[in-house]
Amino acid sequence: MSQELHEQELVPLWGKRSLHRLPFIVASDLLRSRHLLRLLVKRDLNARYRRAYLGYAWAVLEPLLLAIVYTFIFTILVGSSDPMYPVKIIIGIIGWTLFARSLTTSAKSLSSSINLFQFARVPKTVFATSGTLTNALLAVISLTSILPFYFIHDLPVSLNLVLILFWMFVLTFTGWGLGLLIAPISCKIPDVLNVVSFLVRAGFFLSPVMWTYDMFSNRFGEGWHAIVAHLNPTVIPITGMRDALLGESTTIPTYAYVMCFGFALGSYILGTIVFERKAHQAVVNV
């Protein structure tokens, strides 16, 4: 081993990397670190549920219990006549929670994983990604909370169901990209995390969690209200998840899909560039 080391050349630790290559470098770093990613996800899951008596059942129970509460409020107190409303709410909760957690976990990753950076030189995106993957896995597990409604309402079983996973991926990807963008900034200006926390709480009501795309279209039509609503990156994916589950086909304008995918891709490109350029320096502030 010493002979091998003897023959190696010294390599600068902080070499310059061109801007346009950074999104590809992040993807390649993550692929190379997949073993570490797997262990970090396992660690996060263990840390979250190991001491709980019900363990992973909480991943299913949480959206189910929330759905019962919201169903009570909206069907009994408000008087919604749609029998599928509880299912739509559960999907909304799962989708929104996935996006919000992906965003906040990756946004806080630099400050929350500082002790792990000190062991060795590991790509810092790994820590932002492991938390996001943990949340994505829990969101997939929480989909089982829909099963009772499947049998009760005899919902269609088709290949369309795969689209639920696709839209969940879009939500995760967008939240993760935005989190990468915010993480280095939040190290320098901690108030940013308070703003994120507020936006996540406000976003719950501004996103189609308790309302649906059709409800919005029927009320506001397709004018500027619709364009503003489509700026919310969760509107199309959550609607897509509902359509895939219920076998419905909501009429969504093409520009809305372009905005949704553009937002996801833009978040990734901008997030990876800012993270790779600023995260190392930002850690000094933590």
Partner: protein, 232 residues
């Protein structure tokens, strides 16, 4: 002998929090440090509290990027800083060892091969499969030193952790580091224990106000350090 790490005119200043900016306080960090670390050497670093020793190790580990200067290295580098740093309290000793190994870039198979050695060295017996939160600080430090040295990085950076545990474990840790050096490992160690440094180091650097003010044979540097402490 080849150089495993080269620091050229390295500087790093910690940002001063806004509320202290008006005070006449020098920003902490390191300034204009140039240093070559040779393969197989044990470089000790001494200095008063806040002089920049730990910051220097973090720059060497690639944790912090320098504001100025170039740092280059070859081979794997690992930093052992603080007892149980990075261990997750809900994970068992075994799970933490696997995670540490993965952070060091080791594969599952490589960790499998070393896990028995880690368990034996840490002397944790059945506690190895219990969550870290049930460990005493001595047990955590034994596990920390055991995993950090077992993965045999090409350059091991140690920050004030060899003095932990009881007398017999301290002796064992020192022996392990000496063994690591014999296996052509290279060690940079920060410690306040002059006895330990003079027994294992080939060179010692004295850091004061973020600068390396003296570097050379252990006895010479430790003498300069003692004089600095007397002046204080």
């Amino acid at each position: 002998m080849s150089t495993v790490m080269r620091l050229e005119d390295i500087s790093l200043e910690y940002p001063v929090p806004r509320q202290y900016r008006k005070e006449d306080v020098l920003p902490s960090g390191v300034r204009n440090i140039s240093l070559d670390i040779q393969q197989g050497e044990v470089l000790g670093i001494v200095g008063r509290n806040g002089s920049g020793k730990s910051t220097l190790l973090k720059i060497m580990a690639g944790v912090f990027p320098p504001d100025n200067g170039i740092i280059s290295s070859k081979g794997s580098v690992s930093l052992l800083a603080g007892v149980g740093v990075g261990f997750h309290k809900e994970l068992t000793g075994r799970e933490n060892a696997y995670l540490y190994g993965a952070l060091m870039g080791r594969t599952q198979q490589q960790i499998d091969e070393l896990i028995g050695e880690i368990q034996d060295f840490a002397e944790l017996k059945h506690h190895f499969d219990r969550p870290i939160r049930t460990y005493s600080s001595g047990m955590k430090s034994r596990l920390g030193i055991s995993v950090a040295t077992a993965f045999r990085p090409d350059l091991l950076l140690i920050d004030e952790v060899l003095g932990v545990g009881d007398a017999s474990f301290r002796k064992k840790s020192e022996d392990r580091v000496k063994q690591l050096i014999q296996d052509s490992g290279t060690v940079v160690i920060v410690s306040h224990s002059m006895g330990l440094l003079s027994s294992i180091c080939t060179r010692i650097a004295l850091v004061e106000n973020g600068n390396v003010v003296s570097i050379g044979p252990p006895q010479d540097t430790l003498k300069a350090y003692s004089e600095l402490l007397k002046i204080e």
